[in-house]
Symmetry: C2
Subunit: 386 residues, 2 copies
């Protein structure tokens, strides 16, 4: 097991009716800025619940945060937070609203020039407004981690930053808020969660037996619950299980003692979203099977372990089991309702591969668990997803 | 899934050489009081590592904390902490030192009379000195939770308290510190961890699929690693895996969404330790199989699930699988080297049952996941462990 530090001070407040707890979770003497997206929270009653819980409090609002939230939008929100004297940000929404709010928290108190330098890794995060969240879309895990991904319209970039200063002070997870989600977002959330877990788990370097089993626990639960949510979309327990899987999948616990992680799928996926506008999770479903097939020899032992413990594959040698496990994963994504091939999006894989490789090369990025996948390999991977 | 709040701000610093990180983890301007036990840390080099990491810092020390730490000892330590002006407590040891240090942290700033009232649940915890730990014995999980169990020599009581104010600010877990542990303490630690997990998992009420699988992940890892530590006591990875299992086993994560827990084994076990001086973990190995056999009908579904997923039992009906699973658990404890019957300690089970029942009745305590096991049932359980 590799040395590690684990620290996650987010208070998770989970369950039906828990939005009412908001009042006691935010300091009484600060002005709160609500941040949210396209307005679905006004249709499904979440906005009203939040307003009711904060009745009598000094409030301001910033709505209209888009999926793949933009730097430009965040900068407007940060200006509003400063102008209004907001002392606490409350994100109400899914991962995009959460991620945007983390960047707003930093940008609104940033004094060292353009905060985009943080996204480019040139400048550190040294301060942030405190923030909390009411999660309405289980997927990204942003509600219990330090990460945020922000896109910049003017350059077509999509970059990530992380800082313990943007841990939410609390996240309220009420599964009932997810009943009204469009099927597409539920499907995307399941795939996003699955891929997050895999990217921490599916490496050949080192071993961390307990953490690996905890990763498998999330995968098995997703596989069990995914078909149920299609058949019984109003089943509270199914929604609750999916929500807790998504949070657990990327709260740092699955990285404990793990020697290497492999975020190649996310790295390539971000570029495909930036280039073609494909939903984030849908790029992952396309790329992860291709990454595993490309790396099948180097990842064989762990892929075979996964095949046995997660997919129940016990026949054949390790190579055969590894390959069958990848096939099973791709079939699972399709069963969830998510395509797994670029051709299904009318995207030419060869051309996409060249473009993604060029964009990563421009930033000097090599990817994969060994950090050795460069332009040639990226093109091979994208072509495997044709 | 049941509503829950999860909050655990302990920073875990895990791995070889990590004691050197101490310096950066404790505020520079406070006097530190080291607390420790019988002096094993002076033999195995841990004391020297801690002193080296804190070179130049204002320090005081309180050694001699005993297993099943005593109120009387803690009160002396609290008086010393006050007299010396300690601003931070650093526990260096196992669960007993940790638990004692939590009580010292409260008692040393306690202004409302005798702090034993906290143990009796009559008085709340309102303040505590900050504390951290260097763990040397994986077992109790105290390094990452809010619990402490303290015994009072004058009354023969052994009671628990919990408060978020006694969460360690950090816990350093270096598996190398466990190489020098006596075999008996390693065995006890494995059983203690196993039982902690079971007490959160082995209930019939409700279901929390992800949390249940995470509990099974710990159990499976313990079962895998336990034989290795006997064969290869110097294997770092085995020690690391056992250490991380112990911490994960009782850090609150395995309670997320769980509708009921069943701490009957600990409740009865504490009384057996108080009455007969049997090691804490060894009382658990005796009592847990008896609790499960007594409750086998009510716990049947979960016991059968455990039999299948943890013990690999797939033959027979649910009742048969449940019973076989309990047999397997008892055999596992014995394989670790821990007896599972009161007769092996020359204790008369009928008499022990009467005494335990009387002591619990005196405090008005009913136990079990339904809170309905009273004197009669407690006697039946203890008799099953004869």
């Amino acid at each position: 097991m590799t040395n590690f530090t684990y620290f996650n001070p987010v208070k998770v407040v989970f369950g039906k009716g828990m939005i009412a707890e908001l009042k006691g979770l935010i300091p009484a003497d600060v002005k709160v800025m609500l941040t949210y997206g396209g307005g679905s929270i006004k249709k499904n009653g979440v906005y009203d619940q939040v307003r009711a819980a904060l009745a009598g409090r000094a409030l301001t609002e910033f709505g209209g945060i888009e999926p793949n939230p933009r730097y430009e939008t965040c900068m407007s929100a940060a200006a509003q937070a400063r102008a209004e004297g907001a002392g606490f940000l409350l994100a109400v929404g899914g991962g995009s609203v959460l991620d945007a709010t983390k960047f707003i928290a930093v940008a609104s108190v940033y004094a060292a020039g353009d905060p985009w330098g943080i996204m480019e890794g040139r400048q550190p995060v040294t301060a942030a407004l405190p923030l909390g969240s009411v999660l309405t879309l289980p997927a990204t895990g942003s509600e219990m981690n330090t990460f945020a991904v922000i896109s910049r319209a003017s350059t077509g970039e999509k970059l990530a930053f992380a800082s313990p200063l943007v841990y939410p002070k609390f996240s309220i997870l009420d599964p009932e808020t997810t009943f009204s989600l469009p099927a597409r977002q539920v499907e995307n959330g399941i795939v996003d969660t699955f891929v997050h877990v895999m990217e921490q788990y599916m490496c050949a370097i080192g071993s961390a037996p307990l953490t690996e089993r905890q990763a498998e626990a999330v995968l098995l639960t997703l596989i069990e619950e995914a078909p149920k949510v299609k058949l019984h979309p109003d089943d509270y327990d199914v929604r609750a299980n999916l929500m807790w899987c998504a949070t657990t999948g990327l709260n740092g616990s699955l990285g404990c003692g793990v020697a290497a992680q492999d975020w190649a799928t996310h790295m390539i996926g971000h570029e495909l979203t930036a280039l073609y506008g494909i939903d984030h999770a849908r790029t992952l479903a396309v790329i992860m099977p291709a990454v595993h097939r490309h790396e099948i020899r180097r990842k064989q032992a762990r892929l075979a372990q996964c095949a046995g413990r997660v997919w129940g594959i016990t026949q054949g040698d390790a190579a055969a089991r590894a390959a069958q496990g990848v096939d099973k994963m791709e079939a699972f994504f399709r069963s969830v309702g998510v395509p797994t091939r670029l051709s299904e999006y009318k995207v030419d894989a060869a051309e996409a591969g060249r473009q993604v490789a060029a964009r990563l090369a421009k930033r000097g990025v090599k990817i994969g668990e060994y950090g050795d996948l460069g332009g040639q390999e990226v093109q091979e991977i994208v072509l495997l997803a044709k």
